[in-house]
Amino acid sequence: MDLAEIVDRAVRRQANDGTRLLAILRDVQQEAGSLPPEAIDGIAAAVGQPRVRVESTATFYHLLHNTSHGAYEVLFSDNIVDRMGGKEELMRYFCDELLVHPDKLSHDGLVYVGSTSDIGMGDHAPAALVNGFALPALDKNRLGLIANLIRAQLPVAEWPRALLDVSDNVRKTGPLLGEPFSPGAGVARAQSMGPDGILAQLEAAGLRGRGGAGYKTAAKWASCRRAVGKAHYVICNADEGEPGTFKDRVLLQSYADLVFEGMTIAALAIGAGRGFVYLRGEYLYLLRHLQDVLARRRAAGLLGAGILGRAGLDFDIEIAMGAGAYICGEESALIESLEGKPGRPRNRPPYPDTHGYLDQPTVVNNVETFACAARIAERGSAWFAGIGTAQSTGTKLISVSGDCKYPGTYEYPFGVTIRQILAEAGASQAQAVQVGGPSGTCVPWREFDRKIAFEDVPSAGALMVFSRSQDMFEVARNFSHFFAHESCGFCTPCRVGTSLLRDTMDKLAAGKGSAYDMQSMQTLMRILLTMSHCGLGHTAAKPVVETMRAFPEAYEHRLRKLDFEPAFDLDAALGTARHITGRDDEWAHIVEDER
């Protein structure tokens, strides 16, 4: 099929709708192998947008590319937990097996091997994506097999299922995951309560958002309900991009009914007719399953026109795929993305509850929040409020990964201590845990009696364990690379600051750090924290600052001199000249003095 035809079909599948640009771009790339300039031209013309706008979106997302990545694109997850599991060595091994260089298409155009930010498989680390599908629990055996399959050019759909199956790893259940659930029970109860009843119940249950910020769900829904607009929308934030977090993956894989039920209840409460699940591109393997569950719910009268047989009660849900951008977990960036634009956070206020999707009143909640709402509708507020602490009611799903015997998802009442989680996960040698991912909190061993709760250590779900053998400086350095890679680039402090911070950490890692660099990182931290446009920038320096405070020795032994050391590397600067002259002998290098 020629490119024009591919574009035409992809655009028509989305009804020439420019707000569905990301879906169109994903489809065209899927079929054409890349997004060359002619594809951008064709899409722009078909959706009636200037090509420069289409190109802005196409070049923003990490999983989209304008040159071919071959028939097989393998992207290794690059979170610290993957690195601890041997990611770098395994990626080298894999590249050697296939005779390719990382980040370059192979000479025969067959395969591309690269890295990508955490793919939500921390309990199966090290992991990778092949053509968008997850490859969990990699080791040399599996990679050898995968290399053979690629050389034999067997389509991924025909690969052994064992390579692609992602197990839930639920290690501990509670009232959210452990109790049976019959689809429709919550919706029926919610319908009999009516919107005011639902909001009163959520308020009494004390439900707070599970995405990390902990905003009161009842207040958000009530404000959205009050807001005047042409239409109201419900959005489920399934962009689970915070490294080390994978509990939403488990909810979507095995508890999707609970999530859709919560969204439907939200729709009843605010008067919405349409809902979206914004699913991160890395969870492509869940798409088919989620669509099947949606179809089943439509057939059961739980979605679509006239829910539960009541005329006028219409609500349906569609899945919108992301394409590799952590920032789209920020709700206003998510909405921009859902409208077909680059995921850059909006100026706030106004907030989505009054001006969200297509500038209309919109509720955006985390996957787990919707699941909780469904349980509350089913079992009542008193039951929920009786679990956890006074300020943090209910349970919390925790994704445990890193140095522990039993990585996986654990459900605990709020208020559980980090010590207890570590004991049950079989982590006896921990020196620190990173709670809530890179943007969360680094808790050193001295503080393991602290509790997971909004009032103590809040968490979006991740808990990465670092044993005494891990270098906490390398943990922070990995996170600094993550933030620099994921900064959207809109505001100066974050665009430049995250890169400067990454470069300074690299300078220290190369053994060229000085006290001056330590001070300059403090300045960067202040700028990021106080001047950035959104939460990504605000928290980007946190891992560095916290590890510096809790593990100063991890930094100090890297400082070569205590005052100043230039970042400029004279020998490296001669690299271009060496390349041009084809020389690499001793006299083509400047050897530094031993100090």
Binding site: R51, H485, T492, S499
Partner: protein, 241 residues
Amino acid sequence: MSTFTLDGKAVAFEEGETILEAALVAGAYIPYLCHRPGYAPHGSCKVCTVSVDGRNAASCTMRAREGMVVETQTPELSDMRRALVEMLFVEGNHTCPACEQTGQCELQAVAYHVGMLATRFDLMFPARDLDASHPDILLDRNRCILCGLCVRASREVDGKNVFGIGGRGIDSRLIVNAASGRLGDTDLSAQDEAVDVCPVGAILRKRQAYQVPYGKRKYDLRPISEVAVEQARRRKEKARG
């Protein structure tokens, strides 16, 4: 008329005005780079950040409210603002003494205003493109600060969509509306507002660079603080009719 406090003085504002607009009309200059009076607020450069009741906010996007206490010149804010300007210098390739735009460049003028002498950060020396394909206009991405003013001017004033921001993070770059990626293949004309609006030397008219000699240029004669206040007042008078 409602008022708020700006560095201890009362400043009057009209409903809907931003802190920056009201401050400029009152004669209090707050440095900014991604804004232009009359344009919809953008809020990306963050150079105009002020403290509002103790919390930082971009004054170009924050609406003035009765009784709010705004500070613009605390030692901390002044240092942070200077650091932001330094960041804009290190992420691009800015060689003021050799640049055609010297003396009429807002980045340079703001740098003087905030007292920047050198940068505390390491220069990044990025490899960026220069595009001379257009007969009348030069596009030098080395000097682009990603303020997005040309993007908005082309879309909203010229009705053309010549420019956009592509890429992400530190790899963000100004892109143009042509499959070839060349400015010469767009419908940009030398009369477009998108050309005039560039605060730095990224978008320049060809063959005009030295018509006004060094030393007699816009900001050689008067500091940017005076120019910006006068512009804002003139705009407001015009709006009143």
